[in-house]
Amino acid sequence: MTPMDAAEWKLLTDLIQQRFGLTFDGVRTNILESRLRPRLRELHLQSTREYYHYLCFHPDREAEFARLPLLITNNETYFFRESNQFDILVRHVVPERRREIKTRPFRMLSAGCSSGEEAYSAVIAFQNAGLELSGVRWEVDACDLNPLRIAQARSATYDMTSLRACDEEARRRYFIETGGRFQLRERHRKGVRFFETNLASPNGTFGWARYDAILCRNMLIYFSDEAFDSLIGLFARSLCPGGYLLLGHSESLLDRPSPFEPVSLGNGIVYRKTQPD
């Protein structure tokens, strides 16, 4: 494979940004190149430019676009990652939404859910907090742009990497081990729905429900300013009035105008929708 030059880098990353809203600002060329190299070899292509043209014009381009996110994004996630935010959900967000969820389930979206660890962690947190006993029902939706990740999420089968924050007791309680892999127990999978969507598609909606809370953690860092802006707008449209947006520790809305206000809950900052409908 010939080394990627600046023009090829721009052509390819502009295309990826246009399609998925993902930005590669500050990413070293060789990181993207090393992730793509094996795929180019499989396709018998010799340069990034050839791959770019393949993505633009080849009859198999849609299949290639479906595969591309898996190659270029970091799907790093695990059960109970940044567990403080599940505490915030259970101790602060759900109680505050009591009035709204009297006659309907508490609705949550895990946006950019990868293989589902976050969505299932939320369910386990709800169950451990005894929300069922106090009459709270929930619906957890979870979406990702990568169909393979969605398939894995639906199968709810994980390897040890996804369980790195679980002690032995947690592994035993929540999972059934089979041949070195861990299947999440059926009871923790109830009320979770996975679907495939591209969060960066213009004027998108989730088309399901309006949510009381959206978790979108460690994903916005990959988005261009324009896609970021558009996604925050989408989240605002998809939340009920007063609904909450929870971001990753390294992400913030503080330095940009948005229809959210920062609120300190528990030991963290979350964002509450300010716009009325």
């Binding site: 393949y54 633009c56 080849h58 009859p59 558009s230 940009r256 105008p257 229809p259």
Partner: protein, 676 residues
Amino acid sequence: MSVPTARPSITHRLAALNALPETPAREEAILAALEDEAPAVRERAIRLAARYLEPAVLGELVADEGNANRRNAAITALERQGPYALQHLQVMLRQENTDVVMFALQVIARIGDPAAAPAVVPLVDHPDLNVAQSAVEALGQLHNSEAIPTLLGLLERELWLQLAAIDALGAIGDPRAVGPLMALVPDSVVAEPAVQALQRLAVPESLEPLLARLPAITERSLRDSLLLAIGVVVDLHPDPEPIAAGFRDELLADSETGLRPYLEQLLRAHCTTGYGGALVGADGRDEAGLLRAAAALVVVAQLEPLYPLVLARIAEAEGAEWAETLFRQHPEGLRATLEGLLASDDPRVRRGALLSASLEKRDLSLVLPHLSDPQASVRAAACRALGQIGAAESAPLLVERLRGGEPVEQAAAAQALALLPGSALQELESCLLPSSSEAIKVRALEVLGNLPTEMFESQILELTRANSATLRRAALRAAAQLPGARAEVALIRALADRNQPVQLEALELLVRRGGTQATTTLVALLSAGDSLRYHVIRALGHLQAPEATGKLLSLYEECGPHERLEILWALIRIAPPELWEFLEARLAEPETEGRRVAAYGMAEHAQRDQLPRLIALAADPDWNVRNEAARGLGRLGGGEVQPTLLTLVRDVEPIVARTARKALERLPGSATRVLE
């Protein structure tokens, strides 16, 4: 805290900027956008400012202390203008406002045109220390060796100037700086920066004084810096061994604070991959750099007692190649101690010694016993060592490993056999018998696929028709090494294989092999509109087959867009007489990618009389077409391309600006002089 949202979104603001008409209001809109709160909008405004605002206008913004955002944006825009802004930046150096002078110096440094240096030199004596420091830093970044005496004079001045001068001396890389920098080590507050500068200099003259200082220094941080510098100098030194060997005894001193325990500690250090692929230690030191420097010192100074530690690193994933290379570059020390090292209890040391030693035929008796080593990794290393020796008599033993060894041995034996004289390959016959397993046959075919040979033609061609696709692919690779028409026919026949990876393999092998029969067949295959045609078009391009031109041209109109682009590429590679006309037609079409590839072709093939066409392309609305124009103009050179390139260095697309700047740098006489 609620934030108003009535303002147009970033997308709208960007769209408004992109649609600015050419009116006086454009400048005002760009100036306003330079202060936008969104980085994406500011970035777009900076690009437009670089393209459409004159350096004098931007210079005024730099002088405006009241608006830091706009000042920073203007500084970036001036830098993007590059050579176009240089003349005005030199005017800014004469202003009274010291901030303006300082910023101008920083921009000049980043533009990096050495022609600006004479205007910078007097400012090292500026009464404002910040300005003087910026001037010194600029001289370093401009790599101005005429400034060396001035910079050496600054080594006696205030600390900040001293530090800047040391850094600049390191950046310029002139050997005259070695002595004065060494004089600052170890007894000065700037000893460590001085050593770092010597590392950047990396001139052979510094090796001896650096080695002389090393034993005396016990302070860890300075010792690390010194060792890192030595590591780099050794790497670049044409013959470091005689100098380093002179310090052998001092380097092996075994006292508590001596160097030997220090080197041992570094060679045993556990390195982990940190962010960005760098190897860092637990305390953030450059452990990987120190490890390599320590190993380099051990090898060039022939510190034999420490060889096992270096050889053991070869067994670890992150250490193998560079440590092997070190011993290969400086083989004498390892040769002298090889027997003892091969008898080590540690299999990592045995393996490392076999992989790193420069071996000859007389060493066969040392290597052969290791084909029976209890460790498979050592047996595999012995196979590789036999390949390096290249003795035909080792072939039966290597074939035995190929047939009966563990996978790691089989792979090493296959590599080694490919390095033996052709006559030794007769031993592979048993591997190709019908009774051999598929895995063994594939291994043997791998050997034959790596070197030209006339052996086993009938067996290889027979295996190109095997049931297993893996076997057919391996056999095709071996067939590609056979001379003659029968092998070519086998490859051509494989273009119709039922398995597409086999087809593609055959196509690539035919391209690599060349040959007229292959071209004829490939041209004929263009008539079949199947999925292979896309690859056939590419193959004909790589073959640079002129006989394919007519068929490719006639096919263009009737095929799909992905094949059209490949036809364009193929014709650009073939470069037939009809090419220019064909490219012109593509440029007249609305399809963006076709236009871009056509522009690439023009940049590649334009002759001097076609210069006006490239100059016209430089004003194309598409950035990629302008980028190709800049590349093509740089390729053609000559005075008449300069005005166009000076416009392109201010292009709104930074990639175009960079290409144009590179092209300008290659022209005789710098852009600054042109402007003056």
